[in-house]
Symmetry: C2
Subunit: 217 residues, 2 copies
C-alpha cells in the first residue's frame, strides 16, 4: 500500500470515524458506497473523503465508489488493528471498571492483560475476567509481559507519577483519562488523552451560540 | 466583544484546551504569558495562537503577551461557562456513576440536577448528592425544570430511543457516551459524542507508525 509520508493530524483523527462508519455499513449489509454518500453520513464533503483516503493510497474506483469490506479492512490495517497490541489498566475505580467491563478492546485490536489498583478490596479479584494486581506489581508485570499501552484512570494527584512509571517501564503509549496533561519524559511514548471537559465545553459553546442567536432575533 | 461570525470547528475544538491550559497557569500563579510560551505548552505555534484568538476579538498586546486571568475569563465567556447551563444524566451504571461522582460539572459551568435509571436498586437513592429517578419520570422532570443537556450513558441498544425522548422533551444538547452515532430528528439539538474507540484507535495508529519505523530501520 502506497502511503504519503506526511499525514495531517486532522486526517488521522478522522480515520477511526471512517472505520466506525464502515463497520456500521458492513453490519447493515451495505457492499458499496460512493464518496458522497459516505461523506453525507459523516458530515463531510465527497471531495474531503477522496482527499483523506488518497493520503493512504488508491482506494475505490472512479464511478463505482468504495467496497465497504475492503476499505474497512485497509483502514483497520492503517490503524494497526491487526498488530495485536496489548494494554493494562491503572486504576480500577468506577471509571476503570466501566471501561474494563464495557469497552470492546478486542474490536479495536487490543488485548486487555491486567488491571492495577491499591484498593485491598479489589487486589486479587477479577473484573470481567481480568486479574487485578496491586500497583506495586506494575514494573514486575511489564517486565514479564509485552505491554504496549497503559490506560490511566488513577486520581489526578497520582497521574504524573503513574505516567512516569509506565514510561520508565517501557510502554509505547499512555491512554490518559485522568484529566491531567501528562508531561512525558520520553518523546517516543505517545500520550493520548480523553478530556471529558473539552467535550462538554465544546457542547456548551454550541448551545451558547444558539442561545445568543435566539436572544438577538 | 467583537467576534468573527464564521469560526472553524478546529478552532472551536481548541478553545476548551486554551481554557484548561489557562486555568492551570492561573493555579500556578502565572500572570502573563506570551503567545509563543502558550503555544509551546500546547504544541501549537505562536502564530496559530494569535490567529485562533483573533477569531474572537482582540486579546493581548503586541510585545506584552496575554494576561492569564482576563484571557481565561474571556474564553470562559465565549464557551458559555457563565450561562448557568443545567444537565441530567441518563444511565447510572459504572460509567454514569464515575462521571457523577468525579466530574467537576460546576467548573465547567454546569449544574447537575438529577440522574435517571431503570435499576430499582438505584431509583430513589442519591449519588454524590444527586437524586436518581426512574427513567419513566424523564419527561415529567424536564417539563418541570429547565434542562439544557442530557448526558447519555445508557446501553447502546437504548441510545437512539433515549436520544429521541430527550429531543422531544426539548433539551438543547445531548452529551453522548454510548458509542452509538445518534441521529437527531431536530437539527437544533446539538449532539456531542465521546467515542473512546476513536481515541484508542488514534493511539493505535501512532504506535503502529513508530513500530513500522523501527521495523524498517
Amino acid at each position: 500500500m502506497k502511503r504519503n509520508t506526511k499525514v495531517s493530524t486532522a486526517v488521522i483523527r478522522r480515520l477511526p470515524r471512517y472505520y466506525r462508519q464502515l463497520s456500521e455499513l458492513q453490519e447493515a449489509g451495505t457492499e458499496r458506497i460512493s464518496s458522497s454518500a459516505l461523506g453525507k453520513s459523516m458530515g463531510l464533503t465527497a471531495s474531503q473523503i477522496r482527499q483523506d483516503l488518497f493520503c493512504f493510497g488508491e482506494f475505490g474506483q472512479q464511478g463505482y465508489g468504495y467496497k465497504v469490506d475492503s476499505l474497512k479492512e485497509e483502514i483497520g490495517e492503517i490503524l494497526g488493528i491487526s498488530r495485536g497490541h496489548t494494554l493494562i489498566v491503572l486504576g480500577a475505580g468506577n471509571l476503570g471498571r466501566a471501561i474494563i467491563q464495557n469497552f470492546r478492546f478486542s474490536s479495536n485490536g487490543f488485548d486487555l492483560l491486567a488491571a492495577f489498583d491499591v484498593n485491598p478490596a479489589l487486589v486479587g479479584s477479577r473484573l470481567a475476567g481480568v486479574p487485578v494486581y496491586h500497583t506495586s506489581e506494575l514494573e514486575r508485570f511489564i517486565a514479564g509481559h509485552s505491554v504496549d499501552v497503559g490506560l490511566l484512570t488513577v486520581p489526578i494527584a497520582a497521574a504524573q507519577e503513574m505516567g512516569d512509571r509506565l514510561t520508565s517501564a517501557g510502554v509505547k503509549g499512555i491512554w490518559n483519562f485522568t484529566n491531567y496533561e501528562i508531561a512525558c519524559a520520553d518523546p517516543e511514548v505517545v500520550v493520548e488523552s480523553v478530556h471529558f471537559s473539552d467535550s462538554l465545553l465544546t457542547l456548551s459553546y454550541m448551545i451558547s451560540q444558539r442561545e445568543e442567536q435566539e436572544e438577538n432575533s
